[in-house]
C-alpha cells in the first residue's frame, strides 16, 4: 500500500494570464533586395486595451540567420496607463550576394501573460519579405511556387510583376484575354472565369486572386491548375464563397502564374444583400433612409410655405372685409 502511494505522483499545472491586446503595424514589410543594403525600419505597437504591459521585442530569422542580420534598438517596450502607441526601430542588413527568391523573416513583440507554471505568451509579428525576384524560398532551401512558411500555411508564389523570371523562360508567352464574374446575392458562390490565351510553348498555369474591399485584403483564393497547350486557350475557374463577405463591391487582383512568369488583371464584382438581390451594395438601405428624410424635409417646408401664404391671404381678405 505504501509502495502504491509512493508511485502516485502529483502534478500541478496552472495557466493564469491577463488579457493580452496589442497590435503591430505594419503587418507586412516589403524590402526590395539590393546587395549590401542596410536600412532602418520602424515598427509600431498599439496598446489596444489601454493597460500597463511589458513587451519583449523579438526576431525570428526562420532558417535565414546566416543571410540576414537584424539589430533591434530596444529590448523591451513598457506601456504605462494611457500610453497608446510606441515604436521601435531595427536595422536590417542584407548580404552582398543573395540567391534569387523571396525570403521571409519576422520582427515583432511578445507579451508574457502567465502567472502560473505553464507559461503563456502571445507574440505578434511583422512579416518582412526580402524580394530578390522569383518565388518564395522555403526552409528546405527549395524555391517553390507555393509558400510553405513555418506553420505550413499555403500561400501564394510569385506575386510580383512579370520582371521576376528565371532564365530560359522566354518560351512562356501567355496573356489574360478577359475575366468574367457576375454580381451575386450574399451567401451564394460567385463564379470567376479567367480566359487565358497562349502564344508560346505549353505551360502549367494556375491563378491566385486577392479579394479586396475598401483597400483591405479580405481573402485569397486559388483557381484550378491546368495545362495550357501551345497556341491554345483555356479558362481558369474559381468559386468565391460569399457567406463571410459583407454586401459591398469587391476588387479582385488576379495573378495568373505560368512557369516562372505571371500575368495580372483586375476585376470587380458586388455582393448583394437581401435574398432577392434587389438592393445593391452595402449602404443602399442607408441611402434610402437619407433620401426619405430629405423628401420629408422638403414636404414639410412646402406645407409650411403654403400655410404661411394661405395665412397672409386670409389676413388680407379679413382686412378687405374690415375696410368694406
Amino acid at each position: 500500500m505504501f509502495k502504491k502511494i509512493l508511485f502516485l505522483f502529483f502534478f500541478i499545472i496552472l495557466i493564469s494570464f491577463s488579457v493580452s491586446a496589442f497590435l503591430i503595424s505594419p503587418p507586412v514589410l516589403n524590402v526590395k533586395y539590393e546587395p549590401g543594403l542596410k536600412n532602418t525600419y520602424e515598427v509600431f505597437i498599439i496598446n489596444n486595451e489601454d493597460k500597463i504591459m511589458e513587451l519583449n521585442t523579438i526576431v525570428d530569422y526562420k532558417c535565414f540567420n546566416d543571410l540576414f542580420s537584424v539589430t533591434l534598438n530596444a529590448d523591451k517596450l513598457i506601456f504605462n496607463e494611457g500610453e497608446y502607441k510606441k515604436g521601435f526601430n531595427f536595422d536590417l542588413s542584407l548580404p552582398s550576394n543573395l540567391p534569387t527568391g523571396k525570403y521571409e523573416i519576422r520582427v515583432g513583440a511578445e507579451e508574457r501573460l502567465s502567472g502560473g507554471m505553464l507559461g503563456l505568451k502571445v507574440a505578434n509579428m511583422v512579416r518582412i519579405i526580402i524580394d530578390n525576384g522569383g518565388s518564395f524560398v522555403t526552409c528546405d532551401g527549395v524555391s517553390s511556387n507555393v509558400t510553405l512558411n513555418e506553420s505550413g500555411v499555403s500561400g501564394v508564389g510569385d506575386m510580383g510583376n512579370n520582371a521576376g523570371g528565371f532564365s530560359g523562360s522566354s518560351s512562356v508567352n501567355f496573356e489574360i484575354t478577359s475575366v468574367k464574374i457576375n454580381d451575386v446575392v450574399s451567401g451564394e458562390k460567385a463564379e470567376l472565369k479567367i480566359f487565358v490565351k497562349n502564344k508560346g510553348d505549353g505551360v502549367e498555369i494556375d491563378g491566385v486572386i486577392d479579394v479586396i474591399r475598401n483597400g483591405l485584403k479580405v481573402g485569397t483564393l486559388k483557381t484550378n491548375s491546368d495545362y495550357l497547350g501551345k497556341d491554345s486557350n483555356i479558362v481558369l475557374t474559381s468559386y468565391i464563397n460569399t457567406v463571410n463577405l459583407d454586401p459591398s463591391e469587391y476588387l479582385l487582383k488576379i495573378n495568373v502564374l505560368g512557369g516562372s512568369e505571371s500575368r495580372n488583371n483586375d476585376a470587380k464584382f458586388r455582393v448583394l444583400c437581401g435574398s432577392e438581390g434587389k438592393i445593391i451594395g452595402g449602404y443602399s438601405f442607408e441611402i434610402f433612409i437619407l433620401i426619405l428624410i430629405l423628401i420629408l424635409i422638403l414636404l414639410v417646408l412646402f406645407l409650411m410655405f403654403r400655410y404661411i401664404r394661405k395665412g397672409k391671404k386670409s389676413e388680407e381678405w379679413e382686412e378687405d372685409i374690415f375696410y368694406q
Binding site: 502529483f10 475598401n214 437619407l290
Partner: protein, 212 residues
C-alpha cells in the same frame, strides 16, 4: 393657433435636419479604410494582432496522477479554454509552439501535450458559445487539426522551443467581427512512467502574423 402651427412646423424641420445629419454621420463612420469625404481625408493604417480575450483568467489542471488525461474541452467543466481574437484590420494566421515538453519521461508521446482549435459556434458550453465559426482547412477561417464539429481533434504542440517548428492553429482568422474569434483548447496526459513528482513547466507561445 396659427403661431402654434408655425412653431410645430419649424420644430419638425429642425428635427428633420438634425436626424439627417445624425444619420449622415452614422453612415460615414461605418466605412472603414481610407475614405474621402469633402476635403477631409482619413487614413487608417493596417495593423495586425491577436489577443486572448477569455473571461476566464486561468487554466488550472490541478493535481494529476501518472496515466491521467485532462483537457479544457469538457463542456460545463470549470477548466475553460481561452479565446483568441483577431484585433487588427487584416486577416491573421495563428501558430503555436512550446518552449519544452512538460514531461521528462523517456516514453513521452506527442499526444501527451496537445492543442485543438474549435469554432465558438460549435461549443455547447453557455459560458463559451458564440456565433464565430471556423472550418476544416480549405475554407477560411481555418481551424487546423479540427473542423466545425462538436468534438475537438487534437494536434500535438511542438515542444522544441523553435518558432520554425510552430504548428498552424488557425489560418486566416478574419478581422471582421463575424468569425474573428476561435477557441484554443489544451489537453495533457501524464505519461505513466513520469519519473518526477512536482510542478511541471513549459511556456506555450501563440504567434499572430498577417495572412499571405
Amino acid at each position: 393657433m396659427k403661431r402654434g402651427n408655425t412653431v410645430v412646423t419649424l420644430l419638425l424641420v429642425v428635427v428633420g435636419i438634425f436626424l439627417f445629419f445624425v444619420f449622415l454621420g452614422e453612415f460615414y463612420t461605418d466605412i472603414t479604410g481610407a475614405q474621402t469625404s469633402g476635403q477631409v481625408q482619413v487614413g487608417v493604417g493596417q495593423m495586425s494582432g491577436i489577443s486572448l480575450v477569455t473571461g476566464f483568467n486561468s487554466i488550472n489542471f490541478g493535481t494529476r496522477s501518472p496515466g491521467e488525461s485532462i483537457s479544457t474541452a469538457v463542456a460545463g467543466d470549470s477548466i475553460k479554454p481561452f479565446v483568441v481574437r483577431n484585433e487588427g484590420n487584416v486577416d491573421v494566421d495563428v501558430s503555436i509552439y512550446a518552449s519544452n515538453s512538460l514531461w521528462t519521461s523517456p516514453s513521452v508521446q506527442p499526444t501527451d501535450f496537445q492543442v485543438s482549435v474549435r469554432p465558438r459556434a460549435a461549443i455547447m458550453d453557455p459560458d463559451l458559445a458564440g456565433v464565430d465559426a471556423c472550418y476544416s482547412p480549405g475554407i477560411s477561417p481555418e481551424c487546423f487539426g479540427s473542423s466545425s464539429t462538436l468534438y475537438p481533434i487534437w494536434t500535438s504542440i511542438p515542444t522544441t522551443g523553435n518558432p520554425l517548428d510552430a504548428a498552424l492553429a488557425i489560418g486566416r482568422l478574419h478581422y471582421q467581427n463575424t468569425n474573428d474569434e476561435a477557441l484554443v483548447e489544451i489537453s495533457i496526459k501524464v505519461p505513466a512512467d513520469e519519473p518526477a513528482t512536482g510542478t511541471k513547466s513549459s511556456t506555450v507561445t501563440l504567434v499572430g502574423t498577417a495572412s499571405v
